[in-house]
């Protein structure tokens, strides 16, 4: 059974009185259990919309999305038990400490506070979060530390499918590297399937088993990074993912983090 299967997925948003934005238009993909699958695309290409639909936070207009066989619309509660999502924005109560935020999160998943606190301490230690930070408000932590707390929260109740929506956007190179190592380690240790969106070409190349390139709501190419690069290489020289993107979309890659994601 696929960890994630998507068929004919469409989603549009109304903007203003008559305008509409086609965020996703006929998306289809399958992710195998234990795989790290990356969705690569510029801002506004529909990556976040795709993740939100899988996370049961948006309803699709058409098509079917299943997580380990469960339909995200009709069996949303079952799906929610199997997934967790970590997004670019730190979705925390800013005044609460990492421990207080994690206790809240754990209880939502039915984990009693005592067990959650013990597990949270183990995760903080494994992630290298300084002990003196555990009781401080989240707003006093760096972006990198906040993102580590977000990943720790996701693994309090280990998900079978981890949705990472641009988890390293805005991080400094060292924090970015640490988070990437963590994703690989957690996949190795827990066997978790990872569905990752990114606009970082190197990240996709480095940690994803397969990637899909999303442009204007459509998947324009998918395969392993090596296969995609081989498809566009010339004269035996290995192509870069930027060259792959150009070849399949006809557009220059613009890594503009300031644009609002769709």
């Amino acid at each position: 059974m696929d960890a994630l299967s998507i068929k004919g997925l469409k989603k549009r948003f109304l903007k203003g009185r008559k305008g509409e934005v086609r965020a996703l238009w006929g998306i289809g993909l399958r992710v195998a259990p234990g795989e790290i699958y990356g969705v690569l695309g510029p801002n506004g290409s529909g990556k976040s919309t795709l993740v939100r639909i899988v996370a049961t936070l948006l309803l699709p207009d058409a098509g079917e999305v299943r997580v380990f066989g469960y339909d995200v619309v009709r069996e949303a509660r079952k799906v929610r038990e199997l997934i967790h999502r970590v997004s670019t924005e730190a979705a925390f109560f800013k005044k609460l400490s990492p421990m207080e935020n994690l206790l809240y999160g754990a209880r939502l998943y039915g984990i009693p506070g005592r067990i959650a606190a013990r597990r949270a301490r183990e995760l903080f230690s494994r992630l290298g979060l300084p002990p003196e930070r555990v009781g401080k408000p989240m707003e006093q932590l760096s972006r990198g530390q906040q993102q580590k707390v977000a990943i720790a929260r996701a693994f309090l109740h280990p998900p079978r499918l981890l949705l990472l929506d641009e988890p390293t956007t805005g991080l400094d190179p060292r924090s970015k590297r640490e988070v990437q190592e963590l994703i690989l380690e957690l996949r190795e240790r827990e066997g978790t399937t990872v569905f990752l969106t990114t606009h970082d070409m190197d990240e996709a190349d480095r940690i994803c088993d397969r990637v899909a390139i999303l442009d204007e709501g459509r998947i324009v190419a998918q395969g392993t990074p090596a296969a995609l690069k081989a498809r566009v290489s010339r004269d035996g020289a290995e192509a870069t993912m930027e060259e792959v993107f150009f070849a399949v979309t006809g557009k220059e890659w613009r890594d503009d983090e300031s644009t609002e994601a769709v």
């Binding site: 948003f13 109304l14 919309t49 939100r52 996370a55 049961t56 936070l57 948006l58 309803l59 509660r77 929610r80 038990e81 997934i83 967790h84 999502r85 997004s87 924005e89 730190a90 979705a91 925390f92 109560f93 800013k94 005044k95 609460l96 207080e100 206790l103 809240y104 999160g105 754990a106 209880r107 939502l108 998943y109 039915g110 984990i111 009693p112 506070g113 408000p137 109740h157 280990p158």
Partner: protein
């Protein structure tokens, strides 16, 4: 990790919402102090109108009665409005913090979310109102001899149920209107304050406002509380309106929860869950 049984899981999640709000209250203690002082001084200022009226109008006015009349109104309103605001702003608060998608993605039921938030609202409202009452008692010679405190407690309990339903229904607005929803809930609260006889008998209002007063549960709670405290009316006199208020409150909770689930679906269809207002 073994999954807990569904009922136990929902109980733990319910406590999760209560504990989260307790933590938030502690972390925002400075603001809590500000609002407490504001509520206390407002209550005192309103209650002093009773003594002031006696001074201005002469001995024909029973200043102590009027003071207690106003104090009951202001304290009950403080309690009920607190419940209303905590519940009705739960969506707006989480939008502002940026956690709304996280909470809505969790496998606990929406009913658990609403119950947990409502439970905290009631406990918080009781604690806050008792503190204001204790502080107000230092300023006035409150004579509660003859008051039926048992009936007063029951009125407050039943009033809590009604306002929980009202709060859940009002919480739909921030879900549907990210930019204007909170303003709308404030307008609803202001209207309830005007029509419910908090500081005066509803009979002094124009006819059309008196008609609206009949649909506000606060009208009955405040009238019942005054009857129990100022006139010592027991449960025998209050049984019928109490039962009606209770049933109305339950119906409002059921209707509010249903409306909330429809609004959640609409927000998920149109992408309004995430937008911050």
């Amino acid at each position: 990790m073994r999954a807990p049984r569904p009922f136990r899981r929902e109980l733990i999640a319910t406590w999760g919402f209560v504990a989260r709000n307790i933590h938030l209250t502690k972390r925002y203690w400075g603001w809590e102090l500000v609002w407490f002082v504001y509520s206390l001084t407002s209550s005192l200022a309103v209650a002093y109108i009773g003594l002031g009226t006696e001074r201005l109008s002469g001995p024909g006015v029973d200043g102590n009665y009027l003071t207690l009349y106003l104090l009951v109104g202001t304290l009950v309103w403080s309690y009920l409005s607190q419940i209303f605001y905590v519940i009705s702003e739960m969506v707006a608060w989480e939008r502002w913090e940026g956690t709304i998608e996280y909470t809505f993605m969790a496998p606990s039921s929406r009913l658990t979310h609403l119950v947990g938030t409502s439970l905290f609202a009631v406990v918080y409202g009781v604690a806050r109102t008792l503190l204001i009452l204790a502080a107000a008692a230092l300023f006035f010679d409150l004579n509660l001899v003859g008051a039926d405190l048992g009936a007063a407690t029951l009125w407050l309990f039943v009033g809590s149920i009604s306002f929980t339903g009202f709060g859940i229904l009002a919480a739909v607005m921030p879900l549907l209107f990210p930019e204007r929803g909170v303003q709308m809930t404030n307008v609803v609260a202001a209207l309830l304050l005007l029509i419910s006889g908090v500081y005066y008998p509803v009979e002094v209002l124009p006819g059309w406002l008196q008609f609206l007063a009949r649909v506000s549960p606060a009208t009955y709670v405040i009238r019942g509380m005054r009857g129990a405290i100022l006139e010592g009316r027991g449960l025998g006199d209050a049984a019928r309106p109490l039962v009606l208020l209770f049933l109305g409150g339950l119906a409002m909770i059921v209707f509010g929860t249903w409306a909330f689930s429809l609004a959640e679906r609409y927000a998920k269809r149109t992408g309004r869950l995430k937008r911050s207002g």
